[in-house]
């Protein structure tokens, strides 16, 4: 946002409900922040439901706690465990069904994905960057994943600038935040009295037009821009570079892999909350009558026992090789596959790791220390 050519308007806090109503009038169902079990989750919002206000998300390795925001803002919480991933790449879904006739003939049928028109309120810059990476994976030219594509096409994205990053955030160092750069329909920067708003698509402009809002003043735009710069400067965690591919691949025998393996529980929480992880397993669910079966996919993790299973052999038999797969895929493999790192600096894997393993600290230990260990 804050591109000179964009038309920037101001939405006072008391007209936020009007924005949601205009989005709903466009046919989108609103999905937005709600407090559940002490965390902000993205959930379908009932029409009468307001957005939570005055909350911050205090995050640290292995910790997520909601606290109060003295300024009573709507979006002072940096992020929750979910990104956009579950809305496009479903945690579990049927891909196809097959029926078997009495003569044994098989009839296959593609499952039709459930793809409602959905507007997501409160998308962060890191979420947009992660979505672009998932698009690159699931929407390859002439080779689209139909399930992902159907849901992706129905999204309306209302992004917000992060003014209060969590201690786990490091999007400034990956170049993905804290101010949304692209890929949104609307982007908001929240000030004490309301929001500076820009549209990033025709659909976004159409929604804004219905609200008849005044242009944002240069002072408001300046304040929003400054608050983004301050949020970036406030981040303490970082990655030591945007392309660590060769550095990490030269340290595959580093002793830090053993050190982290001793703490890692191989639970897969990091891969589940990571907005860019795309691994899934496929499995079969035959019906009890024997006449049909359906073939489904489900999120999977390279920390699991079966991810590297080959008959009689496991490619990654221990936690050391599994953690190394996760970290080198994020920061090395993604460069080969998609031309950039697979980490957008959201910090979720840090906050949601039950062992409190800090991704950035591991990278620092791996890249800062000499590669001394030989297998």
């Amino acid at each position: 946002m804050f591109n000179e050519t964009e038309h920037t308007v101001f939405l006072p806090h008391d007209r936020l409900a009007g924005l949601l109503a205009a989005i709903r009038a466009g046919g989108w169902q609103c999905v937005g922040p709600r407090v559940e079990q002490g965390a902000i989750v993205m959930a379908p919002l009932a029409e009468s439901e307001g957005l939570p206000r005055g909350l911050q998300a205090d995050q640290a390795p292995g910790q997520y706690r909601l606290g109060a925001d003295a300024k009573q803002r709507y979006f002072a919480w940096a992020n929750g465990p979910q990104a956009l991933k579950p809305l496009v790449f479903a945690p579990q879904e049927t891909l196809w069904r097959v029926a078997r006739g009495t003569d044994g003939a098989l009839t296959f049928e593609a499952a039709v994905p459930d793809a409602p028109k959905r507007a997501v309120i409160g998308v962060r810059a890191c979420d947009l960057a992660a979505l672009a990476l998932q698009d690159a994976h699931f929407l390859r030219k002439g080779w689209d994943d139909v399930h992902y594509a159907a849901r992706r096409a129905q999204l309306f994205l209302v992004a917000v600038q992060c003014a209060v990053p969590a201690a786990t955030c490091f999007c400034a160092s990956t170049g993905d935040g804290p101010t949304p750069g692209m890929g949104y329909d609307l982007a908001l920067a929240e000030l004490d009295a309301g929001f500076v708003v820009v549209a990033g698509s025709a659909a976004g402009r159409a929604v804004l037009q219905q609200l008849d809002l005044a242009a944002a003043t240069p002072a408001q735009i300046g304040a929003a821009r400054e608050q983004g710069d301050a949020a970036a400067a406030a981040q303490t965690r970082r990655l030591p570079g945007r392309d660590l591919r060769d550095t990490l691949m030269a340290r595959l025998k580093h002793p830090q892999w053993d050190a982290v393996a001793a703490r890692c529980l191989a639970c897969g929480s990091c891969t589940a909350v990571c907005p860019t992880c795309f691994c899934h397993a496929e499995h079969e669910a035959p019906a009890l009558d024997g006449a049909s079966s359906h073939h489904a996919r489900e999120w999977d993790s390279c920390f699991g026992e079966t991810h590297g299973h080959l008959h009689g052999f496991n490619v990654r038999p221990d936690i050391r090789t599994r953690y190394r797969q996760w970290l080198t895929h994020k920061l090395a493999g993604w460069h080969d596959q998609f031309g950039r790192s697979g980490c957008v600096g959201c910090g979720r894997c840090i906050a949601w790791c039950p062992a409190g393993i800090d991704f950035t600290a591991e990278v620092a230990a791996l890249t800062g220390a000499p590669d001394v260990k030989e297998a």
């Binding site: 891909l95 196809w96 069904r97 097959v98 078997r100 044994g104 003939a105 098989l106 009839t107 296959f108 049928e109 593609a110 994976h137 699931f138 390859r140 002439g142 080779w143 994943d145 139909v146 691949m249 595959l252 795309f278 691994c279 899934h280 397993a281 496929e282 499995h283 079969e284 035959p286 024997g290 079966s293 073939h295 996919r297 999977d300 390279c302 079966t306 991810h307 590297g308 299973h309 080959l310 008959h311 009689g312 490619v315 990654r316 050391r320 090789t321 599994r322 190394r324 797969q325 080198t328 895929h329 090395a332 493999g333 993604w334 460069h335 080969d336 596959q337 297998a375």
Partner: protein
Amino acid sequence: MTRHAAIDAGPPHAATVVSRVQESPTIFTLRLRLDDPAAQAAFRFAPGQFNMLYLYGVGEVPVSIMSDPEEHGIIGHTIRAIGRVTRGLSALQPGDRVGLRGPFGRGWPLQDLGGNDVVLVTGGLGCAPAVSVIHYVLRRRARFGRLVIIQGVKHADDLIWHMQYEQWAKLPDTQVLVAASQGAAFWPWHVGRVTELFGLARFNPARAVAMLCGPEGMMRAAAESLLGRGLPEAHLYLSMERNMQCGVGRCGHCQFGGAFVCQNGPVFNWAEVRDLLGHRGF
């Protein structure tokens, strides 16, 4: 590589088992035909590519295509029954149905070998993709130089197509070297490790292309030996195996460093995989 958009991410296409041959106590060959005649007629592949074969109610597995690419009416697979899906496939009889998606991945570089000697090294039971190459070369013999077949198996009983190996050994410009770690009565070949045979292989390293498939330790040893004899790296290819759920570069299980084995492989040039191959865990 041309893509066949009609048969890709799914759902599979129905196919019928046309014939079934038991090759050894655990290895069998299924010859399949897609039920849709137009899909069968349009099905084209290169040796080294694979299909995802679906067993009703059980699941899908990747299997190399071993029939000849110019035999258009049929799709052949030689399979070892080892687990849930492959044991179930082994129980199929002519007339039974399966699902099929494919062909996937990149096959052997057989089109552009231009008169080079062909050195094939296979180990373990990774023999099916290699046998398809042998057949391919023998049916187009004039296009290739010498054919050297080096095959290692654990036990003498694991060598299927015994007679064929003996017949191949008698052909001109063809050398067959077979080793079993454990021999058996009347085993005509070498007893010991397959790597002990590399020194006996006769080919012109400057004008040869080598193709390897089998256990990774064996492929590394073979590569070292072949490169040591002067084979250029660019002429060395190998076929990789990883867990595969989707076959279309989506599920992430087949990743080998930055490569998706199902799409970028399973056949790789040596230089593409050399650096990671020695590291356990990828």
